[in-house]
């Protein structure tokens, strides 16, 4: 499809390897704070891959929502729910079974990807970058109803989270 390995591909593979190593760190490291930090690195890798795919809008959203808001929420929850008195096992009893199931899933997915013939554009120059304006047009015309529903859902969910996490008056 292409003449050799381009610079974009090299950058893509560097980002992919960083992202996957960080993801493995998230699920295997023994310290929960390190796991959260690996998660940030993994998110940054995904944002970089969005940039390689020429979708700057999603990369920005990824960094703004995931990279800041979600990560801060998760760090707060980790700190608030840390059991202080005893060191805790971080893995359940069914760990070997879980690893085997994940490997089986991976084999099935990669088998499906390899077995399929994908119709891709002839050359990478045929792929046009998707501009911000096109995305905005689509969201605010075709997808306006889902967009409003998502907004309502988000505010309901955040209100519900505050309700759940706030202490009851009659509790104590």
């Amino acid at each position: 499809m292409e003449d050799g390995v381009t610079a974009t591909q090299v950058v893509f593979w560097i980002l992919a390897v960083v992202m996957l190593i960080s993801a493995i760190g998230v699920v295997t490291v023994g310290n929960i704070v390190y796991a959260a930090l690996f998660f940030i690195a993994s998110l940054a890798g995904v944002a970089g891959i969005y940039l390689i795919l020429t979708v700057e809008f999603i990369a920005l959203v990824q960094l703004l929502i995931y990279g800041s808001a979600v990560v801060i929420l998760i760090l707060f929850a980790l700190m608030l729910t840390r059991a202080r008195e005893r060191p805790q096992a971080l893995f359940g009893r069914s760990r070997p079974l879980g690893i085997a199931a994940a490997l089986g899933l991976l084999a099935a997915l990669i088998g499906g990807i390899v077995a399929t013939t994908w119709t891709t554009p002839e050359s990478s120059s045929a792929i046009q970058p998707v501009g911000l304006q096109a995305i905005g047009d689509a969201i605010f015309t075709i997808w306006i109803v889902p967009f409003i529903i998502v907004g309502v859902l988000l505010s309901i969910a955040l209100d519900g989270a505050i309700m759940l996490a706030s202490p009851d008056e009659d509790d104590n």
């Binding site: 993801a23 699920v27 796991a35 993994s42 998760i74 879980g98 046009q128 998707v130």
Partner: protein, 104 residues
């Protein structure tokens, strides 16, 4: 641009790593982190299909879907962490295998 298959394989590996985390971790917040990894893999897949199908179909539905996935994931994280904090206050644990009131 990397070929579509390479992106799909990377996303499959990321999805499987997230699944492994969901199946092996016992801390609820770490399980949530692994679910976020899986969601990331899926939305990256959608963007890849949208970008590579752009020439043929002329739409950007996949990109809009990735945007919606990220927003819904934010709502989900907020709610789930509220539940985890609540559980920790009531039962003094954030481990999913110790929250077994409904299990028999």
């Amino acid at each position: 641009m990397p070929p579509l298959e390479h992106i799909l394989v990377v996303n499959a590996v990321l999805f499987a790593i997230g699944a492994m985390g969901v199946l092996t971790r016992r801390n609820a917040v770490l399980i949530l982190l692994s679910v976020e990894l899986m969601l990331n893999a899926v939305s990256l897949n959608m963007v890849a299909f949208a970008v590579y199908g752009h020439v043929d179909f002329g739409n950007i539905t996949g990109i809009v879907f990735a945007f919606f996935i990220i927003v819904i994931a934010a709502a989900e994280v907020a709610l789930a962490l509220g539940i985890v904090v609540r559980t920790f206050r009531n039962r003094a644990t954030a481990n999913v295998d110790e929250v077994n009131l409904l299990k028999w």
